[in-house]
């Protein structure tokens, strides 16, 4: 292992980061492709159908066919759109989802390299900052499309995001009160020592979960999209790869939200037995941590998908009511209760 000794620590850091970025990006893209397949399969099963089963055994190569289709389709731009924003919107909706994953610790360490791309001390603040950018993609798409339904979708999206972002931000404050740190690595560390935070702050978890459904525009809160009322909402005018970017953005957002939940409430890469809650000291343990993290994320993704086929959409005013008049006060009360509890315990 002497070949990398003539690199300086900075160079080593850059190389390791580049490798991590490439790996995380490809894994996330593959996960996006396969969660689309999982969505189609699970929806089919729930509706007494079989789902895609023609491309490869049990349709496992369906995502490849979908990708090829998306690339080969005509990229039609209607004449009435606002060009620049129309081109910008799909990128803006995809990129934040990927940026969030930069601060997620997806494993302890592998060969002495920390399994997180950017070990930020303000990890969660960064996440909230980036996640709120996601709404601009949808709002821009609605504005740029310059037609009724996308416009309505964009408006709904902005109203929805504002109301849920607050509840979401409030819901994680108890977590930081308990842990006393904003660094996501430290939060996992705390959970490894004291047990998962879902048991200390269950209400936070519930509010965060509901808000992340609204954040990722998934049913029962898929107001901006609402196929039945808005003909697909903000992406009505999009086709080909631009549409695919919105679509992938939605799933990447789900993965990001699931990763956040796993990190904040479900112990991240740890499991409370077999010594799996200590940072890994061998390659095998490091790999096991990666697998644990991915399994937890996959379980949450399964829940996201299942919920979509289980519940009807909320009415718009019910959604706003739930956000402002139920979840927001509840989150505030939760902060105060947690603070009081910590004060009494201290």
């Amino acid at each position: 292992m002497a070949w990398f000794q003539h690199f300086s620590p900075t160079e080593l850091f850059l190389i390791a980061s580049a490798i991590k970025i490439v790996c995380v990006f490809s894994v996330v893209m593959a996960a996006v492709a396969y969660s689309v397949l999982a969505e189609r399969k699970i929806s089919a099963m729930i509706q007494d159908r079989r789902g895609p089963n023609r491309v490869g055994p049990f349709g496992i190569f369906q995502p490849v066919a979908d990708g090829v289709k998306a690339f080969l389709k005509e990229d039609f731009v209607p004449g009435h759109v606002r060009r620049a924003y129309f081109w910008l919107a799909p990128m803006v909706s995809m990129i934040p989802a990927l940026l969030v994953l930069a601060v997620i610790p997806f494993g302890s360490q592998l060969g002495g390299v920390k399994m997180v791309i950017a070990d930020l001390n303000v990890g969660i603040l960064y996440t909230f900052g980036i996640v709120s950018l996601g709404v601009y993609g949808i709002v821009l798409a609605g504005y740029a499309s310059n037609s009724k339904y996308p416009f309505l979708g964009g408006i709904r999206s902005s109203a929805q995001m504002i109301s849920y972002e607050i509840a979401m931000g409030m819901s994680v404050i108890p977590v930081f009160l308990i842990v006393g740190d904003l660094n996501l690595g430290q939060i996992i560390q705390y959970q490894a020592e004291h047990g998962w935070l879902i048991f200390f702050a269950p209400l936070s978890f519930v509010i965060f979960l509901i808000s992340s459904f609204a954040e990722t525009n998934r049913l029962p809160f898929d107001m901006p999209e609402s196929e039945q009322e808005l003909v697909g909402g903000y992406h009505t005018e999009y086709s080909s790869m631009k549409f695919a970017l919105f679509f992938m953005g939605e799933y990447a957002n789900m993965i990001a939200a699931s990763s956040m939940m796993v990190t904040l409430f479900l112990g991240g890469w740890t499991l409370p037995f077999a010594g799996l809650n200590r940072p890994a000291d061998s390659i095998g343990m490091g790999a096991a941590h990666l697998v644990i993290f991915m399994a937890k994320v996959a379980a949450l993704m399964g829940m996201f998908i299942w919920v979509r086929w289980m519940w009807p959409r909320f009415r718009y005013d019910q959604l706003m009511d739930l956000g402002w008049r139920r979840l927001f006060p509840l989150a505030l009360a939760n902060i105060i209760a947690t603070a009081l509890w910590l004060w009494m315990a201290a």
């Binding site: 099963m45 729930i46 509706q47 007494d48 159908r49 079989r50 299942w306 086929w309 289980m310 519940w311």
Partner: protein, 166 residues
């Protein structure tokens, strides 16, 4: 129908019963037997009285039943049928006994499978049969001529024996 709207109690307003009920329904369907028919491998059983492609039939003696009356041609809503009558010379194989058509064409691309031709036919010479997935590589190929229609239609085993005693 008037749907009675009762006020929900606290437990129901928590949304949890709906969650549980929804989960129960979806999990039941998830493991249920699937209704999908794997089409090209598994074919559908065509029900009795199905209106598929219209074909010409022969009587048990092997004669063409059609007498070129052209009623089907006139009634056909999309004008898919085109009949060429034999003219004054008569048809060579049928001789003087009957006015069998010289040519009988159905354009399967125009046909709407309404069954009016079968209903109007005084000779019971045309029937809508069970074929439902007609394919071809060109428009010309989809215009079925008399020979093809007769071959596909086959013999109709009725007991009329129209020509037996003539």
């Amino acid at each position: 129908m008037i749907v009675k709207r009762t006020n929900l109690n606290f437990w129901e307003r928590l949304y949890l019963p709906a969650v549980l009920a929804g989960f129960r329904v979806t999990i039941r369907h998830f493991f249920k037997k699937k209704v999908t028919l794997q089409y090209p491998e598994v074919k559908w059983t065509v029900p009795e009285g199905y209106r598929g492609a219209p074909y010409l039939v022969k009587d048990p003696e092997g004669r063409v039943k059609c007498v070129s009356c052209q009623l089907c041609e006139f009634i056909c809503p999309p004008k898919a049928i085109r009949i060429t009558p034999p003219g004054p010379a008569g048809s060579p194989e049928a001789g003087n006994v009957e006015k069998a058509p010289r040519e009988f064409e159905i354009n399967m691309l125009r046909c709407i499978f309404c069954g009016l031709c079968q209903e109007v036919c005084p000779e019971e010479a045309i029937f809508l049969m069970n074929d439902y997935s007609l394919t071809g590589l060109s428009r010309e190929e989809m215009v079925y001529d008399k020979a093809k229609l007769l071959a596909l239609g086959g013999v109709h085993n009725d007991q009329i024996w129209k020509w037996k005693h003539k």
